[in-house]
């Protein structure tokens, strides 16, 4: 016999089972939603914002780009300005690790220039690398993937000259297929490549599976004090 329960519905064993079943269902669905909401997506940096450039030839042939005959004297780059993403930052210097891979910046807020290659403005490919994020959140090159052809990249050099580059393309490569010779090699013109990570994040390794490369060509040099 079920006792009276003036404050609620009668408590029958069948009812208690239904209530518990409901609780379990809510627990499962709620937990699933919370898990999916917090950890369900690991690829927000899905590559360039302009997919039309993805996979296209990434360098301008000699004689076709603005920078075919432009060069600047060798001078260490000190500052990087990219107005399209509101970036203005000083530059570090990067060399090689013992295994032959390129050093990456120790400061997530500061990109670095690969000093064993040309300086920006010299004939050849200058390369600047920066982090897309750190463990704490977005880093200096987080917005790099949103650049588009025609965007301006200014590099201040130690001799006071500013080398002005125009973005020609933005590409994303799986790290397993990273085209080092294309990124670091020379096509005879003055080029600047900006490199960061992107694509899918692999929580198992703690790294992204891809790199994003912004290709740009020298279009002008501004003398010191100009």
């Amino acid at each position: 016999m079920t006792p009276d329960n003036p404050g609620g519905a009668p408590i029958a064993p069948g009812h208690r089972g239904r209530w518990m079943a409901l609780a379990v269902a809510l627990l499962l669905v709620g937990g699933a939603c919370l898990t999916a909401g917090l950890f369900g997506s690991h690829h927000p940096l899905g590559g360039p914002a302009h997919p039309g450039t993805l996979g296209l030839p990434s360098t301008v042939p000699v004689g076709e780009g603005h920078g075919a005959t432009l060069t600047a004297a060798r001078s260490v780059p000190t500052e990087l300005h990219i107005p399209a993403i509101g970036l203005a930052v000083s530059l570090a210097s990067l060399g090689l690790n013992a295994d032959g891979t390129v050093e990456v910046p120790t400061d997530a807020a500061r990109p670095g220039w690969f000093r064993l290659g040309p300086t920006p403005g010299q004939s050849g490919s200058a390369v600047i690398l920066g982090h897309v994020d750190s463990t704490a959140g977005p880093a200096v090159f987080f917005e790099l993937r949103s650049l588009a052809p025609g965007d301006v990249v200014d590099v201040g050099l130690a001799d006071g000259v500013t080398a002005v580059f125009d973005v020609t393309s933005v590409a994303m490569y799986l790290k397993a297929d990273f085209p080092a010779d294309q990124v670091y090699g020379s096509s005879g013109t003055s080029e600047l490549q900006l490199v960061t990570c992107g694509g899918t994040f692999d929580p198992g390794t703690g790294h992204y599976l891809s790199n994003i490369v912004v290709y740009s060509s020298l279009v002008a040099t501004i003398p010191a004090g100009g």
Binding site: L26, L27, G63, C197, T205
Partner: protein, 372 residues
Amino acid sequence: MRANWATTEGGGAGSSHTGARGGQGGSWGRVLLGLLLTVTVAGGGLLVVGTAATASAAATAPAVTQCDPPATPTGAGYQVSCTVAVVNTVSSTGGGSTVTTTACLAAAGVLPPSGCVSTETSSDQLATSVDQCNGVAYGGGSNVVCSVTVTDDVPSGTSIAAVTVDQCVGSGAEGGTQPTLDCAPTSSVTGAGVTQCNGSGNGGGAQDRVRCTVTGDMAAVPVAINQCNGSSNGGGSTVVCTATETNVFSSVTPPTTTPVTTVVPVTTATTTPGSTTTPTTAPTTSTTVVGSTSTTLAGGLTSVTVAGGTSAAPAVVPVGAPQTGRGGASGGRDGALVVLGGILLAATAVTVATTVRRRRRPVTDLQHRDAG
């Protein structure tokens, strides 16, 4: 030193010859004379061979010299801007160097790339010295801006030596706005590895008109740098010179292992079993740009001259892909799902609490009845 020694030796031979000519003319005397002549001729021949060998070695061991008189003027009102970038590479198979130079000469205030001529030289010998911008543009109103960067790419474990400095001695004197010197470090070591900015920027002029720095206090491959001495005097001139030494320690590349096996970066290493075969360094390539000329020099050197700019092939192409992210922005949190999940979990808690309360209530009611 060898030239002086040769001169002395020649004099000795002459003296011996003179002494023999004044002898008694006997058979022993003629034998002695013959021996002396033989020794003299043989010694002279050895000296000639030795001198030639030294000259040959000098031709293949790059000693960089530019922007010195007479090619660069000593007069007034010049802008002398010269750079030298040396990359010395040492591997288990030997060594080599790539030297990129830029020499710019224009009227004072006319900055590069105006009047610039650049060269790039590759050699199978290490560069040993750089000499530039000495004794130039000292007529007043000139600017001498010169720099040397040395990158030593050497195997891990290579010993390094301290870079000694002798700079800014006897410079920035004879009036002008004080202070006239901005030099770092302040050092004057006799026979230093870097000797620069001594006896320069004198004759009055602006504040900090002599600005010279040396960066990098250790070198794996010592390169003697001698620049900006006795230059840009005469009043109203400036001297800005820098020397930078960088050491890059790379893993040794065994010459007999072809190709070299290098473990790819962590990301790919964990997703692709095994290792990827990749050369640790790409061969140095020389690029000729529009309007350039390429010449082959003695000793297998190749020089590329570019009008109005510089040509720089990458000294090293890194292997693998850079790891420039740590995932802190990769969470991709879905706010709606998080809120829904939270609501559902709260509803779960309410449901459980309600169920438990209703299971306990009858007991309480019975206790109340018994008490009544």
